[in-house]
């Protein structure tokens, strides 16, 4: 079946349908990771977006039930150059095509993804639509009718859509080094990837995942040892209530670690501003330097917005990490709260695990606050 990608600027790419037929509209973004497409597809941070994979051969090792980062695909569509029909890996359970179909996702393959990526790079993220329902060249009136709809599309209510509806607790998978009593982490699900939970579980933490809208009072009832603010989709600034909640939670002095959207919302709670990047950072090869320049780490990233570090008040906190390519803020250490946040994904999946030590740092902070160990 033919499929077409129509960009907001009117450009059309002709390809072949993969996944479900139909029409879908979303914000078209590109991701540069060469592996980890299952993790990408199931990452809630892609809510509202149509993902383009820059690597041309996708689905080579198939899909499996272990590597999903959430229960479903949150993205609006999927663009690949070639979707592998005969995957090979000992864990492969199904093809990309069947996985997309099962999740009701519309995709397109066989287009010049590099050309598309260059367009997005030059003009910035752009809305677009994938359709199997008409040929835009043959039926220009249908295209004309769709274009305003494409232009009007905006990712809204993102966090509220992707967050869990009720709290759920996960037991540790390994005992902590300090003893058998697990630390209790409350994880505010803003669109959380499963691996954040797994990273905490294997460090001896019991994790209670809370809906993103949970209040400070609800948190207090749990009396957790630490607060984890997860990644998530959309424009951070739209989450006005959640930001207020987070401010209140942080004011209690609870040890807090924020990732991605969690990082952005903390900064907003501290009075700083966020801005939209031209085409974002989405890939597994982003270099992030510590502010001391003592080390630079290769990180996994997926974000379209960034914290403007110059808007962060000096007495509130300071930038801890910055992107070695474009200098944007990649992390903040707070003075007035017991909190540190990063823009990148130390939990990886997919991508490098080089910064997973940040979870150890979080655990140390919780133990210190609890008096189990001296303040590290």
């Amino acid at each position: 079946m033919q499929a077409y990608l129509i960009l907001a600027n009117g450009r059309v790419f002709r390809g072949v349908s993969v996944g479900c037929p139909g029409t879908t509209i979303g914000e078209v973004v590109f991701a540069t990771g060469m592996v980890g497409f299952e993790e990408t597809l199931t990452d809630p941070s892609y809510y509202g977006q149509i993902i383009t994979q820059t690597y041309p051969l996708i689905g080579n090792y198939g899909m499996n039930s272990e590597d999903t980062e959430s229960g479903k695909i949150w993205a609006k569509g999927y663009i690949v150059r070639e979707a592998c029909k005969t995957p090979s890996n000992f864990r492969s359970e199904e093809t990309l095509d069947s996985f997309l179909k099962k999740n009701g996702i519309i995709g397109i393959e066989g287009i010049d993804t590099r050309s598309l990526t260059r367009t997005l790079r030059e003009s910035g993220v752009m809305n677009g639509a994938i359709t199997t329902e008409f040929d835009p060249d043959a039926e220009p009136e249908k295209k004309a009718a769709l274009l305003p709809e494409i232009a009007a599309y905006a990712v809204v209510n993102a966090v509220k859509t992707v967050t869990c509806r009720e709290a759920k607790t996960y037991e540790p998978t390994q005992a902590g080094e300090w003893g058998d009593t697990p630390l209790h982490v409350a994880l505010l699900d803003l669109g959380c990837k499963n691996n954040i939970v797994r990273c905490l579980q294997k460090r001896g933490c019991r994790v209670t995942v809370l809906p993103g809208t949970a209040t400070a009072a609800e948190l207090a009832k749990l009396n957790p040892d630490g607060l984890m603010l997860s990644n998530g989709p959309g424009d951070p600034a739209e989450n006005v209530e959640i930001i207020a909640n987070i401010r209140e939670m942080l004011n209690t002095g609870i040890p807090t670690f924020g990732i991605c959207l969690g990082h952005q919302l903390t900064a907003l709670a501290a009075g700083a501003k966020t801005c939209k990047l031209k085409y974002g950072h989405r890939g597994a090869n982003q270099p992030v330097s510590h502010i001391s320049k003592s080390r630079t780490f290769i990180t996994s990233q997926n974000h379209g917005y960034a914290v403007e570090d110059e808007t962060l008040s000096k007495d509130v906190g300071q930038m801890s990490y910055f992107n070695a390519n474009d200098g944007t803020c990649e992390g903040v250490d707070y003075f007035k709260w017991n909190c540190f946040t990063v823009q990148f994904h130390p939990e990886a999946n997919g991508g490098p695990k080089d910064t997973e030590f940040l979870f150890d740092e979080f655990v140390s902070r919780m133990l210190a606050a609890k008096g189990v160990i001296d303040n590290a």
Partner: protein
């Protein structure tokens, strides 16, 4: 940290002659290192014995020593030049071993020379088997059950414990020399004995064989701050068990999920961190296909062949970055040259697939054992880039120049399906083609997988290609079918052949994509492209934005993969051609497909097209580039083959016209040319069939020289002494050569061969120098020891040589380079062949004379005149030279089983070294030492074995006498011994290998044999006694001389009282300054 200010002068050690396992990639890394040093204002001293390299150019380093790579010589260079530091990790295993030797002996400390990038204990922990095991255990990195042993019994005992099959890996040998898989006790006995001997520290590793696991490699880098990155990972199509240098390799990995990818990536980074390497490192892993179980196979703590491949596959300049790290910079301080904006501390993202395909020498060595294992056999490789695997694979197959246009090998088509399946068990250089044949026959993938363990993913992709090929053969060729075949890499010519049609639907135009390290995330400035059938042509946009319309655009064709007969020399020529074009106001556009070379570095040309060198592929590039002309004379036969096509499509060839090539190659036209020039040549004939050949041989008279026309490096060239030789060789030749070109038969002239290269502007010519060959005619010029200037020619001969060369140049309308080979017999000069193109000797003669030959030749092609260039015309400096230069060929016989080591008209050497000194004898000695000949002093019981054919016996007697006089005991095979005794030379008889024990085999294994002189009327066939004898000697690393002239110079050098430690060290950069100033 910024650059260390204490480093002002650095010594770089090259990797020596090209041998299997150590090829052009180290010229590439060394050249990049020198340029990086220069750009940082560091004075560089370079030492390398290989004159064919670009790194030994005076433009690349400030001081250049083409001297033997021995510790003694390097120490003397350090004493003379007083560098602050030594850069050890860019010159391959050779450079690394030498540096470590100097560090361990304490010499570097005593001389106050710092060792950059690594410490001896780092190297030991990566390369010493036991220390490596300990290090991996400390890191909790799994390794394969193995044991380091230093004697045979331990090896046999351990194998009983872990069970067969086992793999033997000798310590500190390069390219896995001396290793192998042993199925049983007997095989282990053989391989372990050999491996122990070959290891310089007499140590081997015996390990559990895990063949069938996936082989995965990671190229990683680290700086002094501890920042670590992965440049690239690669997956071998062939599972563990075949050396990665002999494997088809794909980048990035295809069948690994993020979990496996990150697991191995983390392991690689942990390893480089633990070893404390500052620079590049290559980690090889075996990964079990059905679990997360893996094992570390090998760690190379230096820039390697794989890192050259990774550099070209990603665009990330590993050698340059490694050099800057060695100078003190950290990864975050180094700019990514490709984007110009982002930093080098990142991991390249690919948006294409890369396939590397090895180039083996088996088309040349028809009797060689083609089976592949843990010892590398390939002389070179090609790389191909596509946006699907199939396209990249098809490009790779075309680039290897095997004469194939799909993966169908005609030999396999003749087999029954049962035979094809049976043949799948054979693990040799043709296995991918055998798999393809099986797929075409519909053999189920699980059958193929069970035998080959080639991952299903690859089988599915190859199946796709097979289906397309079969599909083209049946039914109508629809536009859809045609376009589909194009997208997956089928050439128009192939589609026409398969579909049996003369006309095709409208051909799609190729769109070129950029290799930019970042999958288009950032705007890149690299002019590095590959072809696809996409919409967006980035090269076209690049040209529109950045190309200077006022500049003349010239296409330069490279020389493809390194192979015997077409080596690194042609990359030297191509690169120099590009540089000269750029200096003279042109835009130089390079096309090549060899990832090991300087020519495919993205900043060599104004633009680089990494694509096959076939007519259709080049047509697409021309369509996009619209060049004003092209240069074909610098890229060896690969480029020359395109000349005719360029003529047909009307793209002007700068310099010598295409017709001149035909005139020189076509027998009849060549005869006419000689007649016009008034030059004699040996009598000869052109034949197509066996009958014609026998007839011609009769007319010309035996012995005759036979060779196919249109070949390079004497491929399949032989001297036939009788009709049975003619019958045997016509059989071999017709099997391996396209018989639309005839076989040439010439009267074989016994004389002295010499070679003359000249530059011609159409009117005047300049001969930089004449090279005389030590071995008489019959030994291929590429395999001859070669002396500049000649030592025995009369002035009359020299005048004739220069005069004839000039006549050819004018008559062939040469504009650029011409190479002529002559035979001189009793002061009479005969022409053997004329090549109106650059030759193997161009870099050598350029370096020793100081005449920049390629530079002058390119300027001629641009219309300049020699008389305006300041180097004069005629014979340069009247043939006078302050130094003698002796080129000595180097072989890779140890790696090539079943190949006769006897020299003949077919070229066998893989590389060469140079000795430069004020006298002939000193230069000869330097050359021989550089080539690895050991000058032994006879001890008690030391002996020499002589076994020569009848015509060599008289000369052998003279040599035997000298050797006896020098203190050697002489052994001879029965015929030789009888002759020597008849000449009153003491010589003991030793039985041939087929004779009863004890025989010559026992003598060889005694360890008492220092040298062997062996010639025989017949060679090649590995079943012959003489061939077996030479093979055995080679495997035992006993120097075996197979030409009387070589033996003669060696014996004289042995007896000479020259001391290499007293010989002058020649900085050839001075020679060049003098030549340029002497204008």
């Amino acid at each position: 940290m910024p650059k260390d200010p204490r480093i002002k002068k650095v010594l770089v050690i090259g990797s020596g002659p090209i041998i299997i396992g150590q090829a052009a990639e180290f010229d590439y890394s060394g050249t990049q290192a020198c340029r990086a040093l220069k750009s940082e204002g560091v004075e560089t001293v370079l030492v390398n014995s290989n004159p064919a390299t670009i790194m030994t150019d005076p433009d690349i380093a400030d001081h250049v020593y083409i001297e033997p790579l021995t510790a003694e010589v390097v120490e003397r260079i350090i004493e003379k030049e007083k560098p602050d530091a030594i850069l050890p990790n860019l010159g391959g295993q050779m450079g690394l071993n030498l540096s470590m030797e100097l560090a361990r002996s304490g010499f570097l400390d005593r001389s106050g020379v710092r060792l950059l990038a690594c410490k001896p204990d780092t190297i030991d922990r990566a390369e010493d088997r036991q220390l490596f095991k300990d290090t991996m255990e400390k890191l909790h990195q799994p390794i394969i059950p193995s044991k380091v042993v230093e004697d045979l019994d331990d090896a046999l005992d351990f194998a009983e414990v872990i069970g067969y099959p086992v793999i033997v890996r000798p310590a500190f040998t390069m390219g896995g020399t001396g290793g192998g898989i042993c199925e049983d006790r007997e095989k282990l006995h053989e391989i372990a004995t050999n491996g122990l001997r070959l290891s310089p520290i007499h140590q081997i590793l015996v390990e559990k064989c895990i063949s069938g696991w996936k082989e995965i490699e990671y190229e990683v880098m680290r700086d002094s701050k501890g920042n670590v990155i992965t440049v690239c990972n690669m997956e071998n199509l062939d599972p563990v068990g075949i050396h990665t240098g002999d494997s088809i390799v794909v980048a990035p990995s295809q069948t690994l999920s993020d979990k496996e990818y990150q697991m191995l990536r983390t392991a690689a980074l942990d390893i480089i961190t633990e070893l404390g390497i500052e620079g590049g490192c290559n980690c090889q892993f075996a990964l079990k296909p059905d679990s997360f179980e893996y094992a570390v196979i090998e760690v190379n703590p230096r820039v390697s062949r794989s890192s050259a491949l990774a550099s070209k596959a990603t665009g990330y300049p590993i050698a340059k970055v490694a050099t800057k790290i060695a100078l003190g910079y950290t990864l975050d301080e180094i700019t990514n040259d490709v984007t110009g904006e982002t930093c080098a501390c990142f991991e390249p993202a690919l948006d294409y697939v890369v396939v590397k395909y090895p180039k083996w020498p088996f088309d040349k060595f028809v009797y060689a054992d083609k089976s592949l294992g843990t010892q590398m056999m390939a002389t070179g490789e090609v790389m191909a880039i596509g946006n699907n695997f199939e396209h990249a694979m098809m490009k790779a197959v075309s680039s290897t120049e095997l004469g194939l246009d799909t993966m169908t090998l005609p030999d396999f088509e003749k087999l029954t399906t049962e035979e094809v399946i049976e043949h799948l068990h054979v693990q040799d250089s043709e296995r991918a083609f055998c798999v393809y044949e099986a797929l075409k026959r519909g053999v189920p993938h699980d059958v193929i997988y069970d035998i080959t363990k080639i991952d299903w993913w690859f089988l599915d992709k190859l199946q796709h290609l097979a289906d397309i090929e079969m599909g083209l053969k049946t039914g109508e060729l629809t536009t859809e079918k045609y376009l589909n075949a194009k997208r997956f890499g089928f050439l128009d010519k192939t589609i026409k052949r398969l579909a049996g049609v003369d006309t095709l639907p409208e051909a799609p135009k190729a769109a070129f994509k950029m290799v930019d390290t970042c999958a288009a995330e950032f705007s890149a400035k690299t002019p590095y492209f590959y072809s696809t059938y996409d919409e967006d042509n980035e090269a076209k946009q690049f040209i529109a934005e950045r190309s200077d319309p006022n500049k003349k655009k010239v296409l330069v064709f490279g020389s493809g993969p390194i192979r015997i007969g077409q080596g690194i020399e042609f990359d030297y020529c191509s690169v120099h051609a590009v540089w000269t074009l750029k200096q003279h106001g042109c835009e130089a556009i390079l096309v090549n497909n060899n990832p090991e070379t300087v020519s495919t570095d993205f900043d060599t040309g104004d633009r680089l097209y990494f694509d096959p060198l076939n007519p259709e592929s080049v047509d697409h590039i021309i369509e996009t580039e619209k060049p004003d002309g092209c240069l074909v004379q610098f890229g060896g036969q690969t480029a020359i083959k395109l000349a005719k096509h360029m003529d047909e499509i009307g793209l002007p060839i700068l310099g010598t016209p295409a017709d001149a090539i035909d005139e020189a190659e076509d027998r009849e036209r060549f005869d006419e040319l000689l007649e016009r020039c008034g030059i004699p040549r040996p009598e000869g004939r052109t034949v197509f069939t066996l009958d014609e050949a026998l007839q011609a041989a009769q007319e010309v008279g035996y012995p005759v020289l036979m060779r196919p026309s249109y070949v390079l490096g004497g491929q399949n060239m032989i001297v036939a002494y009788n009709s049975s030789d003619v019958i045997e060789y016509m059989g071999v030749i017709t099997k391996h050569v396209d018989m639309s070109h005839p076989v040439l038969m010439d009267k074989y002239i016994l004389g002295t061969e010499c070679e003359v290269d000249a530059i011609c502007d159409g009117t005047d010519y300049l001969v930089p120098g004449i090279m005389q060959q030590v071995e008489r005619t019959g030994v291929h010029s590429g395999d001859s020891i070669c002396v500049y200037p000649p030592t025995t020619f009369s002035q009359k001969v020299i005048d004739t040589l220069v005069d004839y060369t000039g006549r050819f140049a004018r008559e062939l309308k040469v504009v650029g380079l011409v190479n002529v080979q002559y035979a001189v017999q009793n002061d009479r000069v005969y022409v053997i062949e004329v090549n109106p193109r650059s030759s193997r000797t161009v870099p050598y003669i350029s370096k020793v004379t100081g005449v920049p030959m390629v530079d002058l030749a390119v300027r001629c092609t641009l219309g300049e005149k020699l008389k305006d260039m300041g180097y004069g015309t005629g014979l340069w400096r009247n043939g006078q030279s302050p130094y003698y230069a002796v080129k000595v060929p180097v072989y890779s016989f140890l790696k090539l089983h079943g190949v006769d080591t006897m020299l003949g008209p077919e070229m066998k050497s893989t590389g060469e070294v140079l000795g430069i000194a004020p006298t002939f004898h000193e230069a000869m000695m330097k050359g021989l030492v550089a080539a690895g000949y050991q000058f032994k002093v006879p001890g008690p019981g030391s002996c020499v074995i002589i076994s020569v054919k009848d015509s060599d016996k008289a000369e052998a007697a003279k040599l035997a006498w000298k050797l006896h006089d020098y203190g050697y005991k002489i052994y001879g095979t029965p015929g030789t011994a009888k002759y020597l005794n008849g000449e009153m030379i003491p010589c003991s008889v030793v039985r041939q290998m087929s004779g009863a024990r004890p025989n010559v085999l026992d003598l060889l294994e005694s360890g008492l044999v220092d040298y062997i002189i062996s010639t025989s009327p017949h060679g090649r066939d590995p079943h012959r006694d003489s061939v077996k004898f030479r093979r055995k000697a080679t495997e035992l690393s006993i120097p075996t001389i197979t030409a009387m002239d070589t033996a003669s110079v060696l014996v004289d050098a042995l007896r000479g009282d020259h001391d290499i430690s007293q010989m002058e060290l020649v900085d050839i950069a001075n020679l060049h300054r003098e030549a340029a100033n002497g204008k």
